[in-house]
């Protein structure tokens, strides 16, 4: 029997698509607080304003993140959601977990929370929606002792690092994303669990420029696998594709007849830098012009593979639109060897150089990408001790002035004012 009348929400059950309203009603049979979620949401629809309040609680004892405090502004009317905190769990690297673990998490959440989940949050966490303050510590105890899992990041913490499937399942991965993700997660436990920065900071790792975790669009620090030698080529397999022996794109568009494979139309003409051509029946690539778009490799995976001298490009400063518009990360380090043998020392050195600078220069609630935009990329690259290369230039210059640094001018900018005035009478 519904506790609240919800005529507006009921409209959302009428379409052909799955409805969260139906799900909540089903859940309310065992978790009556779900009626109050529906009741409060119906009120929000009527009032056209949220009735949730945020703030306060950040975690369990010793933690400064992982829990997002949420309260109803009408607790008397909706007592079931007077507290309705969100819990973020650190997902295993690449989200590799079995159904046994999923069942254990769901059982834990049925015991201590509303039973509602969000799989997965945009940072990759397993998100558990809705519990009360007294349940937080017992939940955390069972989570860490019985499930061997931990909370993720929230607030001004380092957020839970995320990575693609990497070498576990993908032949194109140029770096072991899972090893790097796990290492950074363990190395920066303090930064994940306690606030550390002016605002949030996100790591994401993709094994190749296909960037399946969208690191370049969603993370402050994106590690994207790449190579610096030539694309490896099997000319016999290229001929195989042309003769129709192998399906293009690994057969992923096989649901429809697209006609005979046309290498000119489907590969050469789509190369963004026009660096591919045919000489007779041989495919040629000017690798110095390749921009690592991955299109040719995606279309002909049997014939083309990333080069053998592999590492990663580091891009810094992506963000969603909050203060300014959304922005992609900027290519900062063109190539870095990613070496597990040295415990990823080179990556950690870059990360800490960024943090030391951003913590000093960044304003409160300013993402590192916004700080870079405010002070200018040349200043940031100088801090990073990176030599500027043409690939750092986003667009042709629109400012006619040339700014010189002190050390670039013979004698510097120091001058004897008295001597200067002798020559430049006022």
């Amino acid at each position: 029997m519904p506790k609240h009348e919800t005529p507006l929400l009921d409209e959302l059950e009428k379409g052909p698509w799955p409805s969260f309203v139906t799900d909540l009603k089903r859940q309310a049979e065992t978790k009556p607080e779900c009626w109050d979620i529906l009741g409060q949401l119906e009120l929000s629809f009527k009032d056209r304003i949220t009735h949730w309040k945020h703030g306060g609680i950040v975690g369990v004892f010793g933690y400064g993140g992982g829990i997002v405090g949420r309260y109803s502004d009408s607790p008397k009317e909706f007592p079931g959601v007077a507290h309705f905190h969100t819990v973020r769990l650190n997902q295993p690297s690449s989200k590799f977990y079995g159904t046994k673990k999923l069942r254990e998490i769901c059982d834990l959440w049925e015991k201590y929370g509303s039973g509602m989940t969000n799989m997965h949050g945009s940072t990759g966490d397993l998100v558990l929606l809705g519990t009360t303050t007294p349940n937080l510590e017992p939940l955390f105890y069972d989570l860490t002792h019985d499930l061997n899992m931990d909370l993720g990041g929230s607030g001004s913490n380092l957020r839970t690092p995320a990575c693609c499937l990497g070498k576990a399942r993908c032949e194109w991965s140029c770096i072991d994303t899972q090893a790097l993700c796990h290492h950074l997660t363990m190395h920066y436990q303090d930064e994940i669990h306690r606030p550390a920065f002016p605002y949030k900071f996100k790591f994401k790792m993709s094994g190749c420029p296909n960037d399946c975790v969208a690191a370049i669009a969603r993370s402050d620090f994106a590690v994207i696998g790449t190579w610096r030698d030539d694309i490896r080529m099997d000319q016999d397999a290229v001929k195989g594709y042309i003769n129709g022996d192998f399906p293009a794109n690994g057969g992923s568009h096989a649901g429809r007849d697209w006609g005979k494979f046309n290498i000119k139309k489907e590969v050469l003409d789509l190369c963004p830098t026009n660096c591919m051509w045919m000489e007779g029946d041989e495919l040629k690539i000017d690798n110095s012009e390749c921009t690592r778009c991955m299109h040719c490799i995606n279309v002909m995976p049997r014939a083309l593979r990333p080069g053998a001298d592999q590492g990663a490009t580091i891009c810094v400063g992506a963000k969603a639109p909050i203060l300014d518009g959304a922005q992609f990360a900027t290519m900062t380090i063109p190539f870095l060897k990613i070496d597990p043998e040295t415990e990823f020392e080179a990556v950690i050195e870059v990360i800490e150089k960024i943090w030391d600078w951003w913590m000093e220069v960044g304003k409160n609630r300013e993402r590192v990408g916004e700080t870079i935009m405010r002070v200018g990329l040349p200043t940031f690259l100088k801090v990073m001790e990176v030599d500027i290369i043409p690939q750092h230039v986003r667009e042709p210059r629109s400012n006619p002035y040339v700014f010189w640094q002190d050390e670039e001018v013979p004698g510097g900018f120091e001058r004897d004012v008295i001597e200067f005035r002798k020559k430049h009478a006022q």
Partner: protein, 84 residues
Amino acid sequence: MALSSDEIKAAMLAKAEKAPKPQLYVKDFYACDPDTKPRAIKNIANDLVKEGKLMFWSSGSTTMYALPSRIKNEETRDEAEENK
């Protein structure tokens, strides 16, 4: 010359006591000792939380620091309202 950890802690607590708003960003503590690196200041602030002298307060997206005596959680407020 950088202050000692105990001197910085005392300066931070004094700042948290006098600040117009109860919640402070970690950056607000940097001025307690300009010679100490921001990451070291952050670690000292987190030590004060472990000692129970400061507490974390989160808006959901940003985490701040506050003196427990100056902060009234939503729950405490709700309880107070209910008890009225």
